[in-house]
């Protein structure tokens, strides 16, 4: 079965208070040297059929209209090969 991954991240100009809270917690746990943290979402879509251009176009449409809110978020779509 083919898997397509959609990553959704807040746009750079949108404040990410969750990422900031994670970043502030890291040094307390001994993880130093991390300058910034942004938190996003990853969707793994298992396709019934092949990952062709038509399928990818539909997934981009789904990402654009539903998985991401493009007012505040950017998304990327990529194919995950078998065994990775």
């Amino acid at each position: 079965m083919a898997r397509v991954v959609v990553d959704v991240m807040l746009k750079p100009e949108i404040l990410d208070p969750q990422g900031q809270a994670v970043q502030r917690a890291l040094p307390r746990l001994g993880f130093t040297g991390i300058a910034d943290v942004r938190q996003g979402k990853r969707f793994e879509l298992e396709l019934e059929g092949p990952v062709d251009d038509a399928a990818l176009a539909r997934i981009r449409e789904a990402a654009e209209t539903f998985l991401a809110n493009t007012v505040i978020e950017d998304f990327t779509v990529r194919i995950e090969e078998d065994g990775k």
């Binding site: 807040l10 100009e13 949108i14 404040l15 208070p17 969750q18 809270a21 539903f66 998985l67 809110n69 007012v71 505040i72």
Partner: protein
């Protein structure tokens, strides 16, 4: 003829009963609308209530926005039907693109519940004509993701066109850009508001009765139409 105001119940709506009650106290007939029913049952206006529809999964309001009832509401809103989205309802209106911008996690990361002072900035919308511009009111506010954001161009346009309906006074509880508590569309029939006027309609249960004006406003608007 009695004015009929629909209140939508999504799975996870919490304030639908309070919104119905506010509609009744304002003198209209509340009509319960179900998220899976496309039919608006001849209502004259619609309230999208607060709560956590679909558990706020994906993003607040993102799944509700695609419910069958919303197809009809979006269509009717574009034709001028008054629609008020409160809290989660405001999030649904932004996700539907009936209103610009988006509502994101409070800058403090805390869920905020307090009686909030607001200034009514635009008293000419379908839902605010019983107020006067500059009037200060206090109503409950309760949200975890109430921080209104939009890009500078959109914010400047909202200011220039008088589409900011209400601003937070004294305290900005969630980090909303430009202290925005509520906005309207260009036509003034669609209003989104993060605080809860439906919880401030009776002395017994509310901090004030200053929220009732939203519901009497729409009644007046419809009777005069």
């Amino acid at each position: 003829m009695t004015t009929r105001v629909g209140v939508v119940t999504f799975p996870g709506s919490l304030d639908d009963r309070d919104a119905q009650r506010a509609v009744r106290l304002a003198g209209a007939e509340p009509v319960a609308l179900w998220h899976r029913d496309k039919d608006l049952h001849q209502v004259d206006a619609v309230v999208l209530p607060g709560g956590f529809s679909y558990g706020d999964y994906l993003r607040c309001g993102a799944i509700s926005r695609f419910s069958p009832v919303m197809d009809t509401i979006i269509e009717q809103a574009k034709l001028g039907m008054p629609v008020l989205g409160i809290c989660n309802g405001f999030q649904v209106l932004c996700e539907s693109h009936l209103l610009p911008g988006a509502l994101t996690r409070n800058d403090s990361l805390h869920f905020i519940c307090r009686d909030q002072k607001l200034r009514i900035e635009n008293a000419e919308t379908a839902w605010t004509r019983d107020y006067s511009a500059g009037q200060e009111i206090t109503v409950p506010l309760k949200n975890g993701e109430g921080r209104f954001v939009a890009d500078e161009r959109v914010l400047d346009a909202l200011e220039a066109e008088g589409r900011i309906v209400a601003r937070y006074l004294d305290v900005n509880p969630n980090g909303s850009y430009r202290d925005i508590a509520g906005i309207t569309n260009a036509a003034g029939n669609v209003v989104g508001l993060m605080p809860h006027p439906e919880h401030a309609v009776e002395e017994l249960t509310g901090p004030t009765t200053e929220g009732l004006g939203f519901f009497t406003s729409v009644l007046k608007q419809l009777v005069n139409a």
